[in-house]
Symmetry: C2
Subunit: 277 residues, 2 copies
């Protein structure tokens, strides 16, 4: 993937907020999920940053991302009711707007509290100070209703860059992304074709020039080798991944060329098909 | 964890290089592992950035990290023999030094190729152009021998910030970190105590003020609630994590106070012990 052009593709930056992502507690599976979804919508993540629940770090990270002018910045985490949920305060400071209570967001929270109370999930629908805090949004924000949890998401625009603030709980984040954010990237899924080769007796270094040739020839495709270590013999996985109208055809072309090179080099290989779309 | 002071703690930034971390292929488990190790060595990751295999992104990310003056920058990935392994080129450009063939690194590569050849893992120990590329390091680097794979790591210092470039293959990265990088952070593991509560009928918003009180009282500890969604009732996990000489004692103190607040609020909870160290 040599010529990933930000000029022609919808560019996304992701900012993940949370100590738990930096102290070994959890892996950032939200980022992985977003990466796959954004790819299949025709966009790409140009950069992802993970910061702790420290306001100065959140502010500087958002400010830097805004300055790089991506089409979209997605933050995950830090929207909840606790003292260390400070993402919206960070966004407000970064883009120089006030934080103010949003009537629409407050209504969303009240509605969810009533629903959860009726379902017996919470003991009281009272709008405590902590819950009310979740309605304090950067001025000019559009609140995004949360159909899984309680905290509303946020959509705001600054200098043609959209900023979407989504919850950190995966189920809430995914629902909100698919509902409100995916359509901003594309109205429909793009066809994605991915084929993975496992190559069993050809070290990556020998394979490298062949991969490079193909990657230059098909710059709009991911053609990449992933060394998998040595298990008696060296094991390398080669990924060929493309999207768009002619992608199936082109992937077939790439595969034929790769197979022919590999045969010349005397490698054993087998395909793992992962077709999507 | 309100007062994570960068002034007193060993500060690390992690830069992960690889398209596969941004297009949904894999989760960044290297970052998770490093986070846990660095925490138990007494340091903290202040920021982590993930960039694709795009030279300009690698260069700007490293340059920005150097300007923030952490004690250590760790890069993972992009040291291999293929055309898109460009981390060292990125480091050289970012800190304004030349890339040059390092005799010591070349010897390391030759030694490993001979070993792997004798083990029958590779068909030829020949120093191909692709393999030779792995010995081109930023001028002034100390190469780090790779006892698992082939590509040497790199250690270089700029303005009192150490930059360690480690492979992306997890087994290689972990071995190299423990061998060369961990001792730069601390000569010994620090005692870490972590206790997790699962709280089953108290929503995070009600819990929030109690957690906040404790977090303020014990600023050097992680005391954080993690909402786990609604399963009939709301489920929240509270993590209490500390390190250092008196950590066991202090964690016990925190737990007693937390238990007493929870009882007053009528919550059901149970402990999950994760003691280490």
């Amino acid at each position: 993937m040599l010529l990933l052009k930000s000029s022609s593709m919808f560019t996304v930056e992701v900012i993940s907020v949370g100590n738990e992502l930096l102290n070994g507690r959890i892996a950032n599976t939200n980022l992985q999920w977003l990466g796959g979804r954004i790819y299949s919508l025709g966009g790409w993540i140009r950069r992802a940053v993970i910061v702790p629940d420290v306001l100065t770090e959140i502010v500087s990270t958002i400010r830097e991302a805004v300055n790089r002018k991506p089409d979209l910045i997605i933050t995950t985490g830090g929207l909840g009711p606790t003292y260390d949920d400070r993402t919206l305060e960070g966004v407000a400071l970064a883009i120089n707007v006030e934080l103010e209570e949003c009537e629409e967001a407050l209504e969303m929270i009240k509605t969810r509290l009533e629903e959860l109370f009726k379902m017996g999930v919470i003991d009281s629908p009272d709008l405590t100070e902590s819950r009310r805090k979740m309605a304090r949004l950067p001025k000019g924000s559009k609140p995004l209703a949360n159909y899984v949890g309680t905290a509303p998401g946020v959509l705001i625009e600054v200098n043609k860059t959209k900023i979407a603030c989504l919850p950190g709980v995966p189920a809430e984040m995914k629902d909100m992304f698919d509902r409100y954010i995916a359509p901003l990237i594309s109205k429909e899924e793009i066809e994605v074709v991915e084929v993975n080769f496992v190559i069993e007796d050809l070290p990556e270094a020998i394979l490298a020039p062949e991969i490079e040739k193909l990657a230059h020839k098909y710059p709009e495709f991911y053609i990449k080798s992933h060394p998998k270590g040595f298990k008696g013999k060296s094991v390398v996985e080669v990924q060929v991944k493309g999207r768009g109208e002619r992608c199936k055809e082109i992937v077939e072309e790439v595969l034929l060329e790769l197979e022919s090179s590999l045969k010349k080099l005397g490698a054993r290989f087998y395909k793992q098909n992962k077709n999507k779309g």
